[in-house]
């Protein structure tokens, strides 16, 4: 056992302080423990009912990444309860649930859940365990050191025992300890063991509650017509025909458009088609993807570069190399806009009344949603309850909560509980898209074929500027992810330029790792080819001071059979990255058919540090590979006349069952701190694919998606 002491005192104090007021903030009546009798809350994460029902709270939203299981695993490890006997509930908005890796906001994203919860959730479990032991010690008048907690019971000398339920009321009255002992990882019985997900049973019989399944008494349905051009505003609308349609209750204007409210969803959608709406299309009326790329490219030279790294004087080295006629390699990479397109279209249910509101639905950011809606509908946040449901996919889309604001505005306007459901077309047309990006790289190449100097500049729209109002001159850490790879380059300058290309942008799985790694791992491949070196051997020659990445890459090469030739007609491409504190690499094996790459096999090796649920780690890599391949092969959101040209899964193609390659995953056992795993493999797919296409065809594709036209033009 090791003692976590003063460095964690502030956490323990804050969670203890919170516990007193928890009953107020938590709508336990709606939770699974409601029927279990009186519920006691020693701290914000552990609720124990008199009948021994133990409910562990996940402060993070479950969108497929497995926190509904991994967060309780961490708590249960130290609480000493059987994971199969606990219930899990989603946290309401509350300061105790803030994410220390994201400024204390209650935000699920950035592959932070396990990294942030690793120690904190175990401490929370240990804290309650110690409180239960202290309660038993007091009751039995014995020294706490003679007691132990095991499988939901405190056990003492002479066969004394009490269940957690029997002790919870007393334990909850105690002052939370400021110092608790945590198990050494060698003693873990839950954490690090492949564990069945706790949400699977409900997800195979239709009982898992997603936002779209919410039903409130007296609820009506809404469908919202929004301007097809972003930034456009409503000029006028004629709802006479719509109002005459069956089931229509009202047609209301809100800032984002015109909502038809009806007795059923289908009636609302049908009536919406009868709306006649005039839009002022605003400044984006003639926007095109081509213009967006041109503007972003122009910003590379006209915008203000924000440094990510500066070492030596690479410009001088490159200038000298150019003057001397020695080798200088230059390349420009373009990455396309993308939509999140989770399977569950945006939806939310709101019941806004004069004295309070009930908000129910899927979000990655409940506390901000609560605060924003409070302001917009003119209520005190304390009068607003927020219940999170399962998210039918997030991928960053549900960090934004425009759809929840809309539901609240419509509910307020009609004075009824409203479920707003977007169509798939609404979802694709009104996403917050992954920004397009332009990167320009140049390297002077020495006689040994290695880069002696590198200049690197990327431009895209700052998502953090849009979401958080980050000042234009401030560095956006979510633009510069993996911008500086681990390769040893003596002189290097890496800079980011922010440029608003006109279309609203959002955090998309792996965020800027995607664009930066496409540039980095394509360019390193170009350098290797230019030096006549093997892509893996060349990378290794630049990683001599990076043992963890060297080990990763060597393991990857071995698993992928890199050193033996691929079968006839097959070619391989590699990409590696450090992201979210995870070291990860992939090899794609492809063939070409009718000018298009066919991906046959993906080999991934990951060193994510300590793992909570290795089975989920594997699942997240499978998931990221398929998500990333969809984007690399086909993904693009394009704009003409200010309008998104993709409407549904026929024009926005994503990978299907019959298109999935073999995926081999190796996880390197590690005692390093936990890394994030929900996202990073996504970013490897485009560069590994481009590198494989180069190996197959000799053509270097420097833009995504890597589709036949792009290959033909390369």
């Amino acid at each position: 056992m090791k003692h976590i002491e003063l460095s964690r005192r502030s956490f323990l104090k804050s969670s203890a302080a919170f516990s007193g007021g928890l009953m107020v903030g938590l709508s336990l009546t709606a939770g699974p423990a409601a029927a279990a009798g009186l519920v006691h809350t020693p701290n914000a994460w552990v609720h124990i009912a008199d009948d021994n029902t133990i409910t562990l709270i996940s402060a993070r939203a479950e969108m497929g990444q497995g926190v509904y299981t991994s967060m309780p695993m961490l708590l249960a490890e130290e609480l000493n309860v059987d994971l199969r006997k606990v219930k899990v509930a989603f946290a309401p908005p509350g300061k105790a649930y803030g994410n220390a890796l994201i400024f204390g906001l209650q935000l699920t994203g950035g592959s932070t859940s396990v990294r942030e919860g690793w120690e904190r959730q175990r401490l929370a479990g240990a804290q309650v365990r110690e409180m239960l032991i202290a309660a038993a010690a007091e009751r039995w008048k014995v020294d706490a050191s003679t007691l132990r907690a095991e499988d939901g019971k405190v056990l003492g000398p002479k066969g004394r025992k009490a269940t957690y339920g029997q002790l919870a009321a007393d334990a909850a009255k105690l002052k939370a300890p400021e110092k608790v002992a945590l198990k050494d990882p060698s003693q873990f019985r839950i954490v690090g063991k492949p564990t069945k997900r706790l949400d699977t049973p409900a997800k195979v019989n239709g009982t898992a509650r997603f936002g779209i399944d919410v039903k409130l008494p007296g609820m009506v349905y809404a469908s919202l017509e929004q301007c097809p051009v972003q930034g456009g505003t409503l000029k006028s609308f004629d709802a006479v025909k719509a109002r005459a349609m069956p089931g229509v209750i009202d047609v209301v204007q809100i800032p984002d458009g015109v909502a038809v409210v009806a007795q059923s969803y289908w009636q609302a959608v049908q009536a919406r088609e009868q709306l006649v709406v005039q839009w002022d299309e605003g400044p984006n009326a003639n926007l095109t993807t081509a213009a967006m790329f041109e503007g972003t490219r122009a910003a590379l030279s006209s915008g203000k570069p924000i440094p990510a790294k500066k070492a030596g004087d690479p410009d001088a080295v490159i200038a000298q190399a150019t003057a001397q006629g020695s080798k200088v390699l230059r390349a420009e990479y373009l990455t396309q806009m993308l939509s999140h397109s989770p399977m569950e279209p945006m939806n939310y249910t709101a019941d806004v009344r004069p004295d309070g509101a009930r908000l129910v639905g899927p979000t990655q950011w409940p506390d901000a949603l609560q605060g924003a809606i409070a302001k917009i509908v003119g209520l005190d946040p304390k009068t607003i309850t927020v219940e999170n449901t399962f998210l039918g996919g997030g991928f960053g889309r549900r960090i934004d909560f425009d759809y929840a604001i809309q539901a609240a505005q419509i509910s307020k306007a009609v004075g009824k509980p409203v479920k707003l459901v977007w169509t798939r077309e609404d979802d694709l047309q009104h996403d917050f898209y992954r920004p397009l990006a332009v990167h320009q790289l140049a390297a002077a190449v020495g006689a040994d074929g290695k880069p002696s100097a590198l200049t690197w500049r990327g431009a895209s729209h700052s998502v953090t500027g849009r979401v958080f109002g980050l000042p234009a001159e401030a560095p956006d850490g979510l633009m510069s992810e993996a911008a500086v790879p681990l390769y040893d380059v003596p002189a290097a300058r890496h800079e980011l330029v922010k440029h608003d290309a006109g279309v609203r942008v959002g955090y998309w799985r792996a965020v800027s790792h995607n664009m930066n790694t496409f540039a980095n791992e394509s360019f390193i491949d170009e350098l290797a080819a230019s030096a006549g070196k093997d892509p893996v051997a060349y990378r290794l020659s630049l990683l001599e001071n990076q043992p963890r990445m060297t080990n990763l890459l060597k393991t990857l090469a071995a698993k992928a059979g890199w050193d033996s030739p691929a079968a006839t007609g097959r070619s391989r491409g590699v990409a590696i990255m450090e992201g979210y504190d995870t070291f990860i690499g992939a090899v794609l094996e492809i063939s070409m058919k009718d000018g298009a790459p066919q991906v046959h096999r993906v080999t991934v090796v990951a060193d994510p540090g300590r793992m909570v649920n290795p089975d989920t780690v594997e699942a997240q890599i499978q998931s990221s590979v398929i998500f990333g391949l969809s984007a690399a092969l086909w993904g693009e959101v394009t704009i003409e006349k200010g309008r998104v040209q993709q409407f549904n899964f026929d024009s926005y193609r994503v990978m299907r069952n019959n298109e999935v390659p073999a995926i081999d995953i190796t996880l390197i056992a590690s005692t390093e701190k936990p890394g994030g795993i929900g996202e990073p493999a996504t970013a490897l797919m485009a560069p590994a694919l481009a590198n494989a296409v180069f190996a197959a065809t000799g053509k270097r594709v420097r833009r995504t998606p890597i589709k036949p036209e792009a290959i033909a033009q390369a």
């Binding site: 479950e62 195979v204 239709g206 039918g392």
Partner: protein, 156 residues
Amino acid sequence: MSVNLTLNGRATTAQSDPETPLLWVIRDELGLTGTKFGCGAKLCGACTVHLDGEPIRSCSTPLKRANERSVSTIESLSKDNSHPLQKAWIAHDVPQCGYCQSGQLMSAAALLASNKNPSDAQIDDAMKGNLCRCGTYVRVRAAIKTAAAEMRRGKA
């Protein structure tokens, strides 16, 4: 005008307009929300149910087509997760976000009803209409094989 159908084995009457897509009748009028809305255009399979045993996309099937016919939804597999497919889905921990899984399971159930030993190509063919953005496809395939094996054993 009302439509009479058998829903998960029970005689049911639906009052919605007969042109209403079956999906919304099942979800909003009849209250079974396991069947999901994904695209509204037969492109994603999230809404897959069985009509007289055949898999259909309920988002694009009008209620009237179910008149005097039998409709089965995810809720019909079993409530206690005892169906071989549900057991296999749990054994392989297939779902991630879970939203598409009702449709995946109903497509798989239709496949296994007629073929207890499907090849990879037959699985591909039966499942290619069911999109999953979480990319659970690898496990879907493995779980179908596990369930098929159990069903073969059960028959023997």
